[in-house]
């Protein structure tokens, strides 16, 4: 299987690790890379509207910084074989990652995983949801640090 299109997505945590593994996957091959940031717009019913707007604004800022970091890395002269495009969408992270992967016909999704057991129960896991419904191969980068 030769990968031609990669979807890289991150919430900002361990971005360096994710980018490093993506470049390793690409190796010296010519490839389209889509950098995706999903603005998670979900809020509980009783969250004030103004606060929701503030949250979305802040998340978009954060997303912009993440996509800029991806752009800097993938557009370095040494990575001339990469055709990088970026996307920022709003919605449920897992649903949007799967949707974009389907629409763009990507061959592989690269994302982080590895929350601790406590975090998985308390926060949920986007990567687990994506694994269940992704239309393509997924490269999950283990990002959790061993707690000593």
């Amino acid at each position: 299987m030769v990968y031609k299109k990669v979807l890289v997505t991150s919430t900002g945590e361990y971005l360096d690790d994710i980018l490093k593994h993506t470049l390793d996957l690409i190796s010296e091959r010519k490839m389209d890379v889509i950098g995706l940031y999903v603005v998670d717009t979900s809020v509980p019913f009783l969250t004030p509207k103004k606060i929701k707007e503030m949250m979305i604004t802040e998340l978009k800022k954060k997303g912009r910084e993440i996509l800029d970091s991806m752009k800097v890395e993938f557009e370095k002269p040494g990575n001339y074989m990469i055709n990088f495009t970026e996307m920022m969408v709003e919605g449920d992270p897992a649903d949007e990652i799967v949707r974009i992967a389907e629409e763009e016909n990507v061959d592989v999704i690269v994302m982080g995983t590895g929350k601790s057991v406590v975090d998985k129960h308390l926060l949920g896991s986007v990567s687990e949801k994506v694994v269940h419904s992704a239309p393509c191969t997924i490269l999950l980068i283990r990002t959790v640090q061993d707690e000593k």
Binding site: F45, K50, L123
Partner: protein
């Protein structure tokens, strides 16, 4: 029994009405403010604080003005202790980590501690909250808002894009629907808060618990907007919003929540509030600042410490009363 059930249901429904009415009121008031040329910076700074704290303020204000001052004071002080120990504690446990910023601790953290100290000292000195206290509290809030606006103006100057957006958004026309929703929101707030106070006082009588404790317990409901804001922000990694909401709300609850009603009536303060609740609020605020400053973040273990502190506070309070 049926009366109790009806009161509990009406308390829950009125809390939901008040929270949604506050949201509607603030949201449309901001739109009207923009039409009249009030700076979006001023509106943004005040709307965020008022938006989440209006249910406590409305309930405390109506309780005090309708002859149940203990409920009002309990609601304001109880909300502050719950915000730190309960809301921030639970949110940190869920999110794992909440990062803090030096500027935030220095400005908002210090102001939260100063506010807690001032109100406790005033309660100790006068044994009541009177016109002088009201004027001092409101003056401090005006100074604090001025500091916030200055800080926000500096941020905008550093970000030309935001400045352009601000200018564009100023060109708005007054919409009738905004006026309608502001009035509707205000009515919802007034009616909802009145029902909340009535239900709380009557339930306190039925359960034979002091009104001040009923106010502290009421704070669980009125702080629901803070709870969801802090929890969601922490889970999404929006650390500044999470910590800022708690600190901003605590400052507002005391300076406005108790400051405004003090202008109209003399509010008697119970001995337990002076000797226990006030000091407990100071200790928890101090604990939060120490934890935030120590490693510039709150960890899950520190979240447990905060929540445990709240449980110890409530346990001790119930023990003292019994």
């Amino acid at each position: 029994m049926i009366v109790t059930i009806i009161l509990v249901i009406s308390l829950i429904i009125s809390l939901l009405i008040v929270i949604k009415a506050a949201d509607l009121f603030v949201d449309n008031l901001v739109e009207i403010g923009l039409v009249f040329g009030i700076s979006e910076i001023i509106l943004g700074v005040t709307a965020a604080a008022i938006g989440t704290s209006l249910p406590e303020f409305g309930s405390a204000m109506l309780a005090i003005l309708t002859g149940n001052p203990e409920v009002g004071i309990g609601c304001a002080i109880g909300a502050n202790i719950w915000n730190i120990g309960g809301i921030l504690g639970i949110s940190t446990i869920f999110a794992g980590t909440i990062l803090s910023q030096k500027e935030e601790i220095r400005r908002d953290g210090s102001m939260t501690l100063i506010t807690a100290l001032i109100i406790t000292i005033f309660m100790f000195m006068f044994g009541e909250l009177n016109l002088i206290v009201g004027i001092v509290l409101l003056s401090i809030y005006i100074i604090y808002i001025w500091i916030l606006i200055r800080a926000q103006q500096n941020n905008v100057k550093n970000n030309k894009k935001s400045f352009v957006t601000t200018k564009k958004e100023k060109k708005k026309r007054l919409k009738k629907e905004n006026v309608f929703w502001v009035i509707t929101g205000l009515i919802g707030l007034a009616v909802g808060c009145r029902v909340i106070v009535y239900s709380t006082v009557t339930l306190a009588e039925i359960a034979s618990i002091p009104e001040m404790l009923a106010g502290i317990l009421l704070a669980f409901g009125t702080t629901a907007p803070e709870f969801f804001t802090v929890l969601t922000s922490a889970r999404k990694g929006l650390n500044r919003l999470a910590v800022g909401t708690v600190l901003g709300s605590n400052i507002f609850n005391i300076l406005i929540g108790l400051g405004v009603p003090s202008l109209f009536v003399v509010i008697p303060v119970e001995e337990i509030a002076i000797r226990f609740d006030g000091p407990a609020m100071i200790v928890l605020t101090f604990l939060l600042i120490v934890l935030l400053r120590r490693r510039m973040k709150l960890t899950r273990a520190e979240g447990v410490i905060l929540l445990s502190s709240y449980i110890i506070y409530m346990g001790t309070r119930l023990y003292i009363m019994s």
